[in-house]
Point group: C2
Chain length 150, copies 2
């Protein structure tokens, strides 16, 4: 069994998509994460659900639980409003990208390679690339189901 | 809106459960992770799906992608067999627990506190404790759905 046998179609978001639409896509389709693609369809970022959520949480609240606690309930309820009008591009944190391993595999990857990659990158989804283009996605769910059935 | 308004029941696994049953539970119920509880029902570990998967991936494969690659397809397909007969207790990695923040909140936590906690701990689920006992779980999915509707 190889990555190509586990591929599923997966919605992608562009850099200029509104972040709120990305969050809605994640919630409505119950996705484990999102793939952000460039204009030519090549994946730029693979964001587990927790990282999509992180786009909407002010940095000071992420760093210090006590600061999240002082925001009153009404304002806390509306925290996603901070995203309105903002694009995915504007919200992606500046990161030393070269230091981060993207959960990306080729279609020949075995289930063990995929599982190791998910474990190492803490990503419940892996983008499968064929000649630099997104061929599809393997989710942790799909991988476990097939590995347990085998 | 507070954690108590977002609570859902959630299956838990005990330390002496077979790990393979835990993996099956995750896959079959499409859960974002698992909660490992002590004999008295208090949560010992909250494992996102990727960490449940990590229990089954040999450490050398997680550390070095090249080593996962040399395992042939037939053996890779059967990687979960390594788990047979092993309990959750035997598979939980020894960790400096005191250094890790558990995604645990109290029933009064606001959605912003929950979101910040999920983002910070990379956990798509938060265990909500009431007087040290597990009152339920808030999933990233439930949180986003409610925050988007509000």
């Amino acid at each position: 069994m190889r990555a190509r046998d586990l591929l599923a179609d997966f919605p992608v978001v562009g850099l200029d998509s509104p972040v709120i639409d990305a969050a809605r896509l994640l919630a409505e389709q119950d996705l484990p994460g999102l793939i952000v693609v460039d204009h030519d369809g090549s994946p730029l970022a693979i964001l587990p659900g927790t990282e999509v959520l992180a786009l909407a949480v002010p940095a000071y609240c992420q760093d210090d639980p006590a600061l999240a606690r002082v925001v009153d309930e009404a304002h806390a309820d509306g925290f996603l409003r901070a995203l309105s009008g903002r694009t995915v591009r504007e919200c992606l944190p500046p990161r030393p990208r070269e230091l981060r391993e993207l959960p990306v595999a080729d279609p020949d990857a075995t289930v063990l390679e995929l599982a190791a990659l998910m474990a190492r990158t803490h990503s419940p989804l892996v983008a499968v690339l064929e000649q630099g283009r997104l061929a599809g996605v393997v989710t942790l769910q799909a991988l476990l189901e097939r590995a347990l059935a085998g």
